[in-house]
């Protein structure tokens, strides 16, 4: 494995230089750089589009599957369709994520379209990290689309992080929840320089007693711009909570548009939002603990995005 790929895999999927344990598929520059199935998880090529089909059997209990993708140079516009079928009662950790690297003038882009079909009472922890690296002037773009269909009693936790260096990102996440299904989304986003990041979440609760908890925390530094839009629709007895907190630094800008729709008398929906610079008193407190102003700011940001 070359140095850039190895580094990107380390950053987005905790690759330690040897094979992943269990099932995995490594996508590199629009091709497959390695694949392995396990007893309970099989990975096959799609027939209709570039991408793979991941089938997770009920025998998978706390099992991990790795599906990272890397773009290692400019001039690559990667488009991939990955479908995850999670059988009733399965319990799986999916480590996805993408790193895009460019040392040249050309654009490096990854566009991953992930669809999840989560069976009854199945449990999914979906971990996704995105990062851009390299000194090239070419844009580093990541445009993930995540569609989740959750059946009765299922649970999905989506932990998505954009660490930095991605010049443009445009995320769209949609979810449809069946009865008793619970969805937890944690988004952490850092932009700097002239980067832009757009996040759209649309969660529709059609099943009685379903629930969603969506928390986005972001830091906009430099001249970067973030656009956050969430829609939570409750069409039945259900609970929805969304929170959008952003820290501004430098000339960073954030637009947050949370939207709630209650289509049923028993839908209980809440939204919280806070955008602002780091409070002066927070910096002062940490300085009284011996940190410099710069160290204090970094600690606050690191903690906020932890």
């Amino acid at each position: 494995m070359d140095e850039i790929t190895s580094k990107l895999l380390g950053l987005v999927a905790d690759w330690n230089g040897t094979d992943f344990k269990g099932a995995y598929n490594i996508r590199k520059d629009s091709g497959c750089a390695g694949r392995q199935n396990s007893e309970n998880i099989t990975i096959e090529n799609k027939n209709d589009n570039p991408g793979i089909v991941i089938k997770i059997g009920a025998g998978a209990q706390k099992e991990t599957v790795y599906i990272p993708a890397c773009v290692t140079h400019g001039g690559v516009n990667d488009l991939v369709y990955n479908d995850f079928y999670v059988e009733d009662g399965a319990d799986v950790i999916i480590v996805a994520g993408c790193g895009v690297h460019s040392d040249d003038e050309e654009e490096a882009r990854h566009n991953g379209i992930h669809r999840f079909f989560v069976g009854k009472n199945a449990k999914v922890l979906y971990k996704e990290k995105h990062i851009g690296t390299g000194n090239g002037k070419g844009a580093k773009k990541i445009d993930p689309v995540t569609d989740i269909v959750m059946e009765e009693g299922s649970y999905v936790e989506m932990d998505t992080t954009q660490i930095g260096g991605v010049t443009h990102s445009n995320r769209l996440t949609t979810a449809k929840l069946g009865a008793g299904a619970k969805l937890v989304i944690r988004e952490r986003l850092m932009t700097d320089n002239d980067e832009t990041a757009k996040s759209d979440f649309v969660v529709v609760m059609d099943g009685e007693d379903s629930g969603v908890d969506l928390v986005s925390r972001s830091v906009a530094k430099g001249n970067s711009y973030q656009d956050y839009h969430s829609v939570i629709k409750g069409n039945c007895r259900c609970t929805g909570h969304s929170a959008c907190d952003a820290i501004l630094a430098g000339n960073g800008r954030v637009n947050a548009t949370p939207e709630l729709y209650a289509g049923d008398l028993d839908a209980s929906l809440i939204h919280e939002a806070a955008i602002g610079k780091i409070a002066g008193e927070q910096l002062i407190k940490l300085r009284t603990l011996g940190l410099t102003a710069e160290e204090a700011e970094q600690k606050i940001i690191d903690g906020f995005l932890k």
């Binding site: 409070a279 903690g303 906020f304």
Partner: protein, 245 residues
């Protein structure tokens, strides 16, 4: 020893709050600064910690002029300060704050010990975010614990540590102050209206209208305070002379 020489400080609007404070805070002793609200006590504490810059005067720590030192330099130089109104942080845990203060990773037992000193059950709190989900009293106790944890502190400054904490925690706090006083070489400067804190003080300083009105040993000052200002006001935490000035 910390010496304050002719400290003056005014609000940006021009009103003079501290009008020439002269004070010596001895090493290894507990000094309580008391006096009426608005008299300049918190301003004085913030000047000592470097949060405010005096318009005039000098601050001398162990013979060194630290008047121009900023907040970080004061902290590194040995001054630890507990805010009257604790600051909340989204994302930073109680343990994070204690470790920053101690400038090292802390073993679980040490975190437990620090939180136990302020009456918190450590295992429930150490990994909690120090954010708005904590009550005012919980935040206050954690604020005090960050000062107890401070590495290399020579002088611990507490601004109304009794405010917002319950009776049981207050008793723990008194015991903690007593222990620090007895076991430590560190100096304690406590802004307080509480008679129970004054009762364990070595020195008491009364500040009113931006000036030192009285100062001396506890045995000199406390009886005067109590006699001059009538019977001490009873409150759930013991006795307060706060409202009698």
């Amino acid at each position: 020893m910390l010496e304050l020489k002719d400290i003056r400080w005014k609000l940006p609007e021009g009103e003079e709050i501290l009008k020439g404070i002269n004070l010596s805070i001895p090493d290894g002793k507990l000094t309580v600064v008391t006096g009426p609200n608005g008299g300049g006590k918190t301003s004085l504490a913030k000047i000592i910690a470097g949060l405010y810059e005096p318009a005039e005067g000098q601050i001398i720590l162990d013979g060194e002029d630290i008047t121009k030192w900023d907040i970080t330099e004061r902290a590194k130089g040995g001054i630890a300060y507990a805010f009257q109104q604790p600051v909340r942080f989204k994302g930073l845990t109680v343990r994070d704050l204690l470790e920053m203060s101690a400038e090292t990773k802390l073993k679980e037992e040490k975190v437990c010990s620090l939180l136990g000193e302020v009456g918190l059950c450590a295992r429930e709190y150490m990994d909690r975010e120090a954010d708005a989900s904590l009550s005012g009293g919980e935040s206050k106790r954690i604020e005090i614990a960050t000062v107890l944890a401070r590495k290399g502190a020579k002088m611990l400054v507490f601004d109304e540590p009794e405010a917002g904490i319950d009776l049981w925690s207050f008793t723990n706090l008194i015991e903690a102050f007593q222990r620090l006083k007895n076991e430590d070489e560190r100096s304690l400067l406590v802004i307080s209206h509480q008679e129970r804190i004054m009762e364990i003080a070595d020195h008491i300083v009364v500040i009113s209208d931006g000036k030192v009105k009285m100062q001396g040993s506890r045995d000199e000052i406390l009886p005067q305070l109590l006699s001059e200002h009538g019977a001490a006001h009873k409150c759930p935490l013991g006795k307060s002379v706060k409202e009698e000035f």
